[in-house]
Every structure is written in C-alpha cells, then in structure tokens.
Symmetry: C2
C-alpha cells in the first residue's frame, strides 16, 4: 500500500512526541515509517513544508468562538484554545512559532481574531496588529511554559542552583517565589487580561480623544 | 594552547550565525574549532548548558534603564533593548526562548523590569507576572520577525501563494495588506503600547476600585 500524505503527517506528530522538535528529522521519520526518505519528499517538498503542515494540524482543533459573544470573550476563547492546542503536543508552541501557514485553520483563527478587534472598535490595520500581538504573547508564553515543564520532567531544573543565583537580587527572588505559587493557567489568564485591558484602554482613549 | 571557555562560546556564536539554531550541534562545533567533542564537554556539561551560556551572552549588551525615568519609559527601553539584542544574532529569539538562565544579565534585566512595575504601583507578585508577560510578547514577536526575515532572505516566501490562500477571507487579506505597510519597528512599538496601556488600565482600576 503506498504511503499517503496523512500517514506521513501522523508519523511526524508521533515522532515529535517521542523525540521533540530537535529530534525530528526527515531521515528519522523515514526510518520510523519504514520507507525511503524519497517517499516523504513525494508528499512534502522539504522539512519546512512538513513543519507547516504539522503547525496547521496542531491548530485544527481550536474551537470557533461564538460570534454572539462580546469581542473580549471571543478573543479570550481563541487565545485559550490556541494555547490548549499548542500544549497538546510536545514542543507544540516552538514548532508553531516561525511557521507561516496560509492554511484554512490558521486563517480561520486569524480572521476570527481580526473580527473580534474590529468589532471592539479598532480600525482594521490596528486590529490586525492587535491580533498579532495577542498571538505573540500566546506563543511566547506557551514556548516558555512547555520548556519549563520539560526541564522539570527531565530533572534538569535545579531549584537550589536557581535560588543561589537569584540571591543577589532579594526583591526578585521573593517576587519569583510568590509568582510560582500561581498556576500556569492563572498566569496565562493574567497575561491575557493585561493584553485585553490594553485594548480597553486604547478604546477609551479613542472615544475620549 | 588549551581551549578556553570563551573560545567555545565565541565559536558557538559564529556557528549559530552560519548554520542557524537547527544546525548547531556539539559535533559541528567541535569540528569548527578543530578539537575533539570531549574538549567541549570539559567546559559545558551538555548542549543545554552551552545554549544557556549563549542565551546569557546574547542579552549581556541590553543597556540599563536609567532609574530616574518613569516606569513605562524604563519598561520600553528594556523591552526594546532585549529585542535588539535577540535580533543581533540569527535565530537569537528562538535560542533565548525556552532557556532558563539564572545568570547575571538575565537576572539584572528581570530585576529592572520588576522594579519598573512595582514603581508603577503593582503589587509584587503581580509585577513579576507583568514582567513575564512583557518578556513573552518580546520573545514571540522577535521569533516571528526573525523567521519571517529568514523566509524572505531564502526566497521561500511566495506572496502569490499567500494571496491566493487568504482570498477566501477578504477582510483578513485587506487587513494584512494594510498591516504590512508598517515597519517591523512600528509593529513592535504598537504591541509594546498595547501591553503598557494594559498596565495603565489596571492601575486606573486599582485606584478607582
């Protein structure tokens, strides 16, 4: 039976889980699927094309936001859905960042965010920039979150070493300690609120000015 | 003459420039420095330790923000300095994201951001979260910016293909076109203002409530 495109994509997602992004090579993927590398290149011109398809696959499950909801609830749901989708695979955020996928699900999410911010009252180009800013926050947050989890999982995180290093900055050390009492979900929500409050502030300014 | 730690670090920064992050392996670095891999491991326990040292090196040039400046000017300068530092090396942002460096320059920047936000009036744990949110925006923005530049530089970006893909979303296509008229610096500044305005909004709320 010939190798189909979805088989390659499934194999790549499994290999990502096992090896992480750094271990995902076309050679290893061919070996895992028990085919010659040329069989992969028949479906994906190069590794970048494969990564783009994986990125699109990652976000395919991000749910629609009910258009009847207010703009900020829609933006929150899309951002939260995106974080959940990126977290559903090892190194998901790191994989997604830096791909430029002009494919249905990525475009659907982009269009929904844009509409949320134009509905809020921002001019179109500004609303587009705002959507990108939200995306950058979600990506940065989730990359660091996943990297942190991996460091802890592999035992590479040494809290004593970190404590010793931060000792010269007592205010920072104390703040980090308090900050680490919050859950990753709370931290994400706080960051999201910071972003949404910025949009609210700008809308007030616009109305005021 | 024996290989010194700074030689390894310099060689690694040069290799990053030539090969990008994906091409940076301990084997290639040893070969570029004309030493056996074991000579590298004498200075860096593993690749992660090398990446952490490179990340710290990347941000060593981020300038101090004058403590006499208002909190928002300080946060802006630190964020802008961080973006500039990350952009000074190929894949700089991608390298920095996901390292957890408890070293002098990273801690100095973290402490300065924390102080900016406590001076603004945020409670300490909240100020710490706010500093991380800003860091996540800068990282996400700069990763995407560098990836975009690389795609253009290598000729892998096909504007016609992108235009065809966005055609089913005319509002999005138009907004992207308008957005692409702005410079990367303007986009970064707009995102930074979105973030700072969020802090301003929260300070107003605190005062009001």
């Amino acid at each position: 039976m010939p190798l189909r495109r979805p088989d390659v994509l499934d194999g790549a997602m499994r290999l990502l889980e096992e090896e992480g992004l750094a271990g995902l090579t076309m050679r290893r993927l061919a070996s895992a699927l028990d085919v010659r590398p040329s069989a992969l290149y028949w479906h994906f011109a190069d590794k970048r094309a494969l990564l783009d398809a994986m990125a699109e696959e990652l976000v395919s499950g991000v749910p629609e936001a009910d258009p009847a909801l207010p703009w900020d609830a829609r933006a929150s749901r899309l951002a939260t859905g995106l974080r959940t989708a990126l977290r559903s695979h090892r190194d998901g955020a790191r994989l997604y960042a830096g791909t430029f996928v002009a494919r249905p699900h990525t475009l659907r999410i982009g269009a929904a965010l844009l509409t949320a911010f134009t509905d809020a009252g921002l001019p179109r180009a500004r609303a587009m920039g705002t959507a990108f800013t939200l995306l950058y926050f979600v990506l940065g947050h989730t990359i660091e979150e996943q990297a942190h989890e991996e460091l802890h999982a592999t035992g590479e995180w040494d809290p004593d070493e970190a404590a010793a290093a931060t000792a010269p900055y007592p205010g920072l050390a104390q703040a980090l300690k308090e900050y680490e009492n919050s859950t990753p979900d709370q931290r994400f929500t706080d960051g999201l609120h910071n972003f949404l409050d910025g949009v609210r502030y700008q809308l007030t300014e616009h109305r005021g000015g």
